[in-house]
Symmetry: C2
Subunit: 344 residues, 2 copies
């Protein structure tokens, strides 16, 4: 008991709402003493935090698929941690868990929050950070988005942007497993080479170093049946110009637009939906929460069989959260971006 109550919990809170890219003054560091869990509660030590493009949206005011992070609140984040104290029979000290931990070193989850938090035990043998990637929220986003909105059929051509990112690597690998032709779009030769050589995509277009329009023409000679969009902006328009009849476009994100200080660039080629009787549909992973276990089981099977890989970009140090988050927006991260907060 005394060991725990002597611990100090560092936290990063939202100090103000960013205009454009988040800056240092949007964040505030605070510390709090760690307290023991009450009846039914669990205390988790944060090991890894998931850094996601969606975080930028949570920092904005206004209605979205979940409420914004309030000013002064600890920044929202999912993560992997280890139970260090528990008064809940479902979780034992030493258990590894995936949970809504927020950007702090310790997360106290009272009984009434355990279910709402969505915390669940994970198998560390599959890799701890894998549970924030292919087996985590991004993986489930890719899995359910592709399978339930994209409705892939063997032989179809699937294009995915942010191909080396967390969602993109999942989408592309599942699409390959399902028998599709897969073309990624990623920034830089290293990512493109990895996506093709390690993940088995049929091609990958380097949007930083080559002409995406020409790349789509070359690598999608039969047009595009499914586009899984993580980026929005110009790339969405270029793909819209090449979709096939009855194409499905999954709107998962628009990272190119999240830090705009001008209005979002809408897809000028959206009338291609009309010409091609195509569909553009949004996906939010939370809608599939009651079936995550099915997606996780399928992904875990592929990982064990070696037909799927999971790559994370792990940055060290809790205090580096603000700077590390920015890697997402300049495309510096290579693989799912994760912040390591403590050793397992």
């Amino acid at each position: 008991m005394s060991a725990i109550t002597s611990l100090i919990n560092r936290q990063i809170r939202l100090a103000s709402r960013p205009h454009g890219l988040p800056t240092a003054e949007n964040w505030e560091s605070t510390t709090q003493p760690v307290t023991e869990p009450g009846p039914g509660g669990v205390l988790v030590k944060t090991l890894y935090l998931s850094l996601d493009p969606a975080m930028r949206g949570w920092m904005n005011e206004g209605k979205s698929y979940i409420p914004p992070v309030e000013i002064g609140a600890v920044m929202r984040a999912g993560g992997v941690g280890r139970v260090i104290a528990s008064q809940n029979p479902a979780f034992a000290v030493g258990d590894f868990v995936n949970a809504g931990l927020d950007v702090q070193e310790y997360c106290l989850i009272p009984q009434e929050q355990v279910k709402r938090n969505g915390m669940f035990k994970i198998d560390p043998r599959l890799g701890l950070t894998t549970w924030l990637n292919v087996l985590g929220m991004p993986g489930m986003t890719g899995y359910f988005g592709l399978m339930e909105v994209g409705l892939p059929r063997a032989g179809e051509t699937v294009v995915v942007s942010g191909a080396a990112g967390a969602v993109g690597q999942t989408v592309g690998q599942i699409a390959k497993i399902k028998g599709c032709r897969v073309v990624g779009i990623a920034g830089g030769k290293a990512k493109c080479d990895w996506v093709v050589n390690e993940l088995g995509f049929d091609a990958c277009i380097d949007y930083k170093g080559s002409d995406v329009r020409a790349g789509l023409k070359e690598h999608c000679p039969g047009g595009v049946d499914i586009y899984f969009d993580n980026v929005g902006g110009e790339i969405l328009d270029l793909v819209l110009a090449r979709i096939n009849r009855s194409a499905r476009i999954i709107i998962c994100g628009a990272i190119s637009q999240y830090n705009n200080t001008t209005p979002v660039k809408g897809p000028a080629n959206y009338l291609s939906l009309l010409v091609n009787r195509a569909r553009m549909e949004g996906i939010v992973v939370f809608d599939y929460a009651d079936r995550y276990h099915l997606g996780v089981a399928e992904m875990a099977g592929y990982l064990k069989a070696g037909t799927m890989k999971s790559r994370e970009d792990v940055v060290q140090g809790f205090e580096n959260f603000p700077a590390t988050l920015l890697k997402l927006f300049n495309g510096e991260n290579f693989g799912k971006l994760v912040l390591q907060v403590a050793d397992a």
Copy 2:
């Protein structure tokens, strides 16, 4: 025989592709002698021509859902006519038909074109111009677009733009019959009053004389479940800001953008599709050709029962085609725009 071969067929051909609104120099008038149909062929005298927003798209070069009208070709148009000579057992002299007549006074349809033309006999007792409106291509567009892409459920809120136009009046009336709350968007008080008082819409927002944003807020207090979009542009964005979870947006047209000399304005609020897990999907009426008869039968039933109305804006005179077409783009037409070429 001699009566027919003495006839002169006036035609309007596409002389050049417009940049922005079509002008006089984009058209060329020609005349040709009328010839007798050969074996299996049919000669139709044009009575009414359908003037549609889609015509503007057919005048452009480039890939679309049908090939563009070639330079020098008679302008494409559907119409209602009367058979004046026939060597085809399926059509007798005196029959009224709906057919691809093009912008000309007489249309000779050779045997090998009869099926491809899609020509069919119509019942003149339902009104000749009705067959270019609720019972014609626009009606089928509204019917199949709403029912098969919109998937309306009783109690849902349906918004339709171009509400007094051919497609819009059909969509709104069907949605009412199916038990939905229906809010139109139209230009001017007269159209809005007609849509509410004559067609039974629950409300209609005058985009020329009032604030559409405020109107949507007032008349769709529970949000928008289905938006049938005929106009694109700013109105599409305003509706996107008010859609509900799992909303369906039917992209039927974008008349506000057809004469742009700058790029199409894409919907800046398209990420509302993500937030609301909503869908935006294009529709082309030709895909439902093998079921038109089912749609027509249902619409004809409503017309006979008096639960549906059909309003056409009939302009006289073949030579007025170029000027009349422009009425569509400034919203001057009140009801489905039709050009009367000859008396029945």
